[in-house]
């Protein structure tokens, strides 16, 4: 089975800190995604990448950036964390555009 691993389950950061969320997948998938999940708002796409060094903005990219230097790793960066970025962050990968997504277990980030 494809495994998507997010480096931290829980993270507490201070306002203004630079935050790195790491995601690694082990099945050579081309596409990777970052979502945030908030109660009542469902899953909102932040960024996605369909190839190494390629990135595309999702629906809510403001305040975030991403990095994909290697195929298996997709990092989400909060340049200057703010309290409204407190959320559950989910990483996903997909083998090709026609396939289903495999999600990691999520990182619950609290910004204080």
């Amino acid at each position: 089975d494809v495994k998507v691993t997010q480096s931290s389950r829980y993270l507490v950061k201070r306002t203004g800190e630079k935050v790195f969320l790491e995601c690694v997948q082990d099945m050579d998938h081309e596409n990777m995604f970052w979502y945030r999940q908030d109660p009542g708002l469902g899953l909102r796409l932040i960024y996605f990448s369909y190839d190494v060094k390629m990135k595309e903005k999702g629906d809510i990219p403001e305040g975030y950036s991403v990095s994909r230097e290697k195929k298996e790793r997709f990092s989400l960066i909060l340049e200057s964390a703010s309290t409204n970025q407190t959320s559950m962050y989910l990483c996903a990968s997909r083998e090709d555009p026609s396939g289903g997504y495999t999600f990691g277990s999520g990182t619950r980030l609290t910004v204080v």
Binding site: G40, G42, L43, P97, S98, G106
Partner: protein, 114 residues
């Protein structure tokens, strides 16, 4: 603007009953309709998916019904069990090459009482 509308927001069903979750869409270019299941503390997992060339797909106790003319699709969970208690998301996407992305419903929280 939400392109996939999911209802109900929450659902309580007795063990052995049928759980029904509905989704409606506007974009007739959508050609892939998956359902995802999410347990607390976990990421969503693909449950079942359908393409518009069929009207129904069944996998075990889970069935997707698809009505192209009404632009609606639904998930039926037969003989619902307490272990089915989870949040269910419908989604849809259309062919956009590498830019194919899922448009998500807001989710339905299902509780199956023992």
């Amino acid at each position: 603007q939400q392109q996939v509308k999911q209802s109900p927001q929450s659902l309580i069903v007795q063990k052995g009953g049928i759980s029904i979750i509905n989704c409606a869409y506007e974009n007739t270019a959508f050609d892939y309709f998956p359902w995802y299941q999410q347990f607390p503390g976990k990421g969503p997992a693909l449950l079942i998916a359908i393409r518009p060339d069929v009207s129904e797909k069944k996998e075990g106790r889970f069935t997707i019904s698809f009505n192209k003319s009404a632009k609606q699709f639904s998930l039926h969970i037969m003989d619902s069990q307490p272990g089915d208690s989870a949040t269910y998301f419908c989604a849809a996407s259309c062919n956009a090459g590498n830019n194919r992305k899922l448009i998500w419903g807001l989710g339905t929280s299902l509780a199956v009482n023992p």
